[in-house]
Subunit: 147 residues, 2 copies
DNA sequence: TATTGTTATACTCTATAACTATA
DNA sequence: TATAGTTATAGAGTATAACAATA
């Protein structure tokens, strides 16, 4: 691989903010096309990984637990998620996607045309490299080997 | 170089969403420590690149132009930004950071400990590689308007 | 006619505080 | 005592529609 231009940390932080704004905009527009707010879409996206309690949802979305009540209420009213009492701790309510909720979040993901096209500009090896680097930066315990 | 595990596009999209959530959470907490909402902080962050009109701000933040009026009103009331009428088009108002606004957004950026520590896990060559890949994925082809 | 920015409206998101049920 | 979730409240964010000023 040819030598890349040296980039200082501030420029990388700046590009990171631009990149994530682009991703967020893409997601927000896709969610709106399904008549969902960004917070509602993000909640479905988190639940796509599996059921989660109200407090875990709040932590993941970086908001107060009290906010999740209203967000999950509206999603539940539309039949996209459902609350299920935990068997082991009766205080806990686990939230899970319904089949319809699963369908909707998959549609939203498929509508992120800008991001999908951007990833399409990378070949397979470049995608693997990007994956490994992002994992190192944003994941506490990286599973991928060092480059 | 060790071969990296193959990663399909869906897993990469998933990691992007996790990365964004981590970055966004880091930024939101840092902004809150300066008594700013996420939207207010994002506005300052965009303006750190230079003045921008109300409509450009709205496009960059992926929200309706009418929202920017209130956000900029509150930032202006705190002395963090100011509106200046455009010389060439009297309909346009350019928004610029004040010295205090510049100071505050720099403080916020410096408080993004999680993200800064994450980037610190990469050596210089890896940072350059990440920069080049993100630029390919999220920057529009010819010369994206440097915001 | 089209665009920029604002206002008015209704709804959603958000943090804080107080409450309950459970641990 | 501590934690999970809800409720109430006030302030902020959000899209839509309508408007004035300017292009």
């Amino acid at each position: 691989m040819t030598a890349l231009p040296r980039v200082d940390s501030a420029r990388l932080m700046e590009l990171l903010s631009v990149s994530l704004a682009a991703y967020y905009g893409d997601f927000t527009i896709a969610a709106a096309s399904e008549n969902l707010t960004a917070s509602q879409g993000k909640t479905l996206n988190v639940l796509r990984r599996g059921p989660a309690s109200m407090s875990v949802l709040a932590t993941t979305l970086t908001c107060d637990a009290s906010n999740m009540t209203g967000i999950v209420d509206r999603l539940e009213k539309r039949g996209l998620v459902r609350r299920k009492p935990s068997a082991s701790d009766r205080r806990v309510k686990n939230v899970a996607l319904t089949a319809e909720g699963e369908r909707v979040i998959d549609v939203i993901r498929g509508k992120m045309h800008h991001t999908l096209a951007g990833l399409g500009r990378l070949d397979e090896q470049e995608q693997d490299t990007l994956y490994a680097l992002l994992e190192r930066v944003f994941t506490a315990q990286p599973a991928a080997p060092r480059l």
